[in-house]
């Protein structure tokens, strides 16, 4: 006898590799807690996180929308509501999330930095693509930010579960005032200044510290809330480090993954869901990568959500959903769906603005 003899089959590579589907592999075994259909999920994070809210809603889950489209705002306008629980747009780094939550609960004053776009509309540099139609003037942008922070505070109070998908360790900060941008100034709006804007690549220590601060802040705002971290499998569009972007992606994701592993062990109400491993791991055989090898296919997203619902929201996992396939993912998903999904991701990912070849004019 040795300690491995009594372990379940999921603990063994060979058995896992021979499983017929991701659900059978049970990527999420060892979970600390599951959820019920009545739980309200607040979502935030990078590009990949947008799918979580969509799929949750499509499968009958309850996504908390703290910042809703007002009836006076036409549905067809580029309002940016309901991609996430509030209109914060993509949040790539833990530091960005922490600063947002601190502003929302009053731990630090609101950060106001706005810039005018070439079309004359104003953007909030802390969420430059969250409101695609922009704002008519700076006063509106300021007022909207105040309400946005109010909505984020409400979200913290009202949610049962906070799902945050970590995306990057690389970021640009305002060196003068000490805050973090989601995308480098000058890429979408504003001007880059070598004096004011500084590149930072957050270390393992930075990320774990940031995560702990986020957990403490969320727990103070809502002691009953549970937190679920995931890591986005989507690679970096560009790296500011003097090395290949794929190497930077690996470093970034490894740091994020390790930092989560560290903090999850320390908090009862905090857990990790392995969407990153489902997409990038050997079991997927690379079939979840879209044509550019960076984005995830629709089948990949659905597989992740299949596992999530089967593992954590079992009471909703059997509900029919037209857009969600059951069982093992198709090896050759329809190209049309991939194209649509990739286009949607490209449209909604601030990072795309870093690559001049991909920049949307």
């Amino acid at each position: 006898m040795n300690p491995y003899d009594r372990l379940p089959r999921q603990n063994f590579w060979k058995a896992s590799a021979q499983s017929s589907s991701e659900i059978e592999v049970d990527f999420d075994c060892g979970r600390k807690f599951g959820f019920s259909g009545s739980d309200s999920f607040a979502t935030a994070g990078s590009c990949f996180a947008q799918h979580f809210a969509r799929q949750m809603t499509a499968r009958g889950g309850k996504v908390l929308i703290a910042e809703k489209r007002h009836p006076l705002v036409p549905q067809e306008s580029e309002h940016g509501y309901e991609l996430f629980s509030a209109r914060y747009g993509n949040i790539y780094t833990v530091q960005q999330l922490l600063e947002l939550l601190e502003q929302a609960v009053g731990g630090r004053g609101p950060i106001h930095e706005y810039a005018v776009r070439t079309d004359g509309r104003w953007v909030d540099m802390l969420r430059p693509r969250a409101v695609p139609m922009g704002f008519p003037d700076i006063e509106h942008a300021r007022a909207d930010r105040q309400f946005h922070l109010h909505a984020v505070a409400e979200m913290l109070r009202d949610m049962d579960v906070f799902v945050f998908t970590l995306g990057l360790t690389e970021a640009w900060t305002n060196g003068r005032h000490g805050y973090c941008y989601p995308v480098v100034p000058g890429a979408i709006a504003g001007d880059f200044s070598a004096e004011d804007h500084r590149f930072v690549n957050y270390s393992f220590g930075d990320v774990t510290r940031g995560l702990r601060n986020v957990i403490d802040l969320v727990s103070r705002a809502n002691p009953a809330a549970r937190i679920l971290f995931t890591v986005s499998p989507v690679g970096l569009v560009a790296t500011a480090e003097p090395r290949n972007v794929m190497v930077s992606t690996s470093a970034s994701k490894s740091i994020l993954r390790a930092a989560i592993d560290e903090v999850v062990r320390q908090y009862e109400a905090v857990d990790y869901f392995p969407s990153y491993e489902i997409i990038t791991g050997p079991y997927g055989r690379g079939r979840y990568w879209a044509e550019g090898l960076r984005d995830v296919t629709g089948a990949g997203v659905e597989t992740v959500m299949d596992v999530f619902f089967h593992s954590r929201l079992h009471d909703l996992s059997q509900r029919p959903c037209g857009s969600v396939s059951a069982g093992a993912p198709a090896a050759d998903p329809a190209m049309a769906d991939i194209g649509k999904l990739a286009a949607a991701l490209n449209d909604e990912c601030d990072e795309m603005f870093l690559d001049p070849a991909l920049r949307v004019k």
Binding site: K68, H70, V73, E139, H140, A143, F147
Partner: protein
């Protein structure tokens, strides 16, 4: 005796007529009592006013105005829209073709000449936004400072799109008037939202809604009103139509209609009409010099 001006009016014209003319005696209007409305509007919803233009004498001797021809389009008259926009109604009507109400064409034809045509058309559409039936919101307006905390901010472009639907009927009616006549055109902007709307004895057609939802904050009511007036002013400036603004004397520092000048929930009273008549007389005097 020639007319001082012609008046074409919806309900806001009642304050002017009551303030300075003998129109009720001339028309001998009688009506069944409707508790929703005050005395001024008892004749509004039946056929008492009729569909024809009429003449009224200005009975205030201090005014340089003497006689006016009036076409008052009451709810009960069944006149309907003065100008219909063919096809899908656009926010801006330039370049679209119009279907002109037959009666309106006849009235304009009979008024052709040099006598000013004064419009007190429409002007109550903004009042629907006084009812607190939507989730809380606010928007920014350059003329009305202040923003409600903790509510979403609606982009002014959407506000303007809504307001354009309200200014369209006035604009198109006066655009047609400017095209088929050479008479000078004047439009009297409606009175601002009244202060203390909850104190109004008569809640008009909004009684049920008021009971159910209450009112939005004063600031928001003023914003909608100012937006309406500003947009209309810009559009009418393009068709040589002069404007008469609400008399400053009748407005509170917050830009609301003072209670003593209000009739019911949304209208000015005869005292208000008297002030408007003075402004009109002053404008006419400037025009004749």
């Amino acid at each position: 005796m020639s007319h001082s001006f012609y008046l074409i009016a919806h309900s806001h014209g009642v304050s002017l007529l009551d303030g300075v003319t003998n129109w009720r005696d001339r028309l001998r209007v009688r009506s069944n009592r409707d508790q929703r409305y005050g005395d001024s509007f008892q004749v509004w919803f039946d056929q008492a006013i009729g569909t024809e233009p009429f003449e009224a004498d200005v009975v205030i001797s201090s005014l340089p105005l003497k006689k006016l021809g009036a076409w008052v389009i009451s709810r009960g008259s069944g006149i309907g829209r003065l100008v219909g926009v063919r096809g899908k109604e656009a926010a801006q009507c330039e370049g679209t073709s119009f279907r002109i109400n037959k009666k309106y064409s006849e009235v304009l034809a009979s008024w052709k000449g040099s006598t000013p045509i004064v419009s007190m058309l429409a002007g109550n559409q903004h009042s629907r936004m006084m009812i607190n039936s939507l989730p809380a919101y606010d928007f920014l307006d350059p003329e009305v400072p202040g923003i409600e905390k903790g509510v979403p901010i609606v982009d002014a472009r959407f506000v303007d799109e809504i307001v354009a639907r309200w200014t369209n009927p006035v604009y198109t009616a006066l655009l047609v008037a400017s095209q088929v006549t050479e008479n000078p055109l004047v439009h009297v902007l409606p009175p601002p939202p009244r202060e203390n709307p909850q104190a109004s004895t008569h809640l008009e057609a909004m009684r049920e809604l008021v009971y159910q939802h209450g009112f939005v904050p004063d600031n928001l009511r003023v914003k909608w009103y100012r937006r309406y007036c500003r947009q209309l002013a810009v559009r009418l400036a393009g068709i040589r139509c002069k404007l008469v603004h609400p008399p400053a004397e009748a407005c509170s520092p917050a830009g609301l209609l003072k209670e003593e000048y209000a009739d019911g929930l949304t209208h000015g009273n005869a005292r208000y009409g008297m002030l408007v008549a003075r402004q009109l007389a002053s404008l006419m005097a400037q025009g004749s010099r």
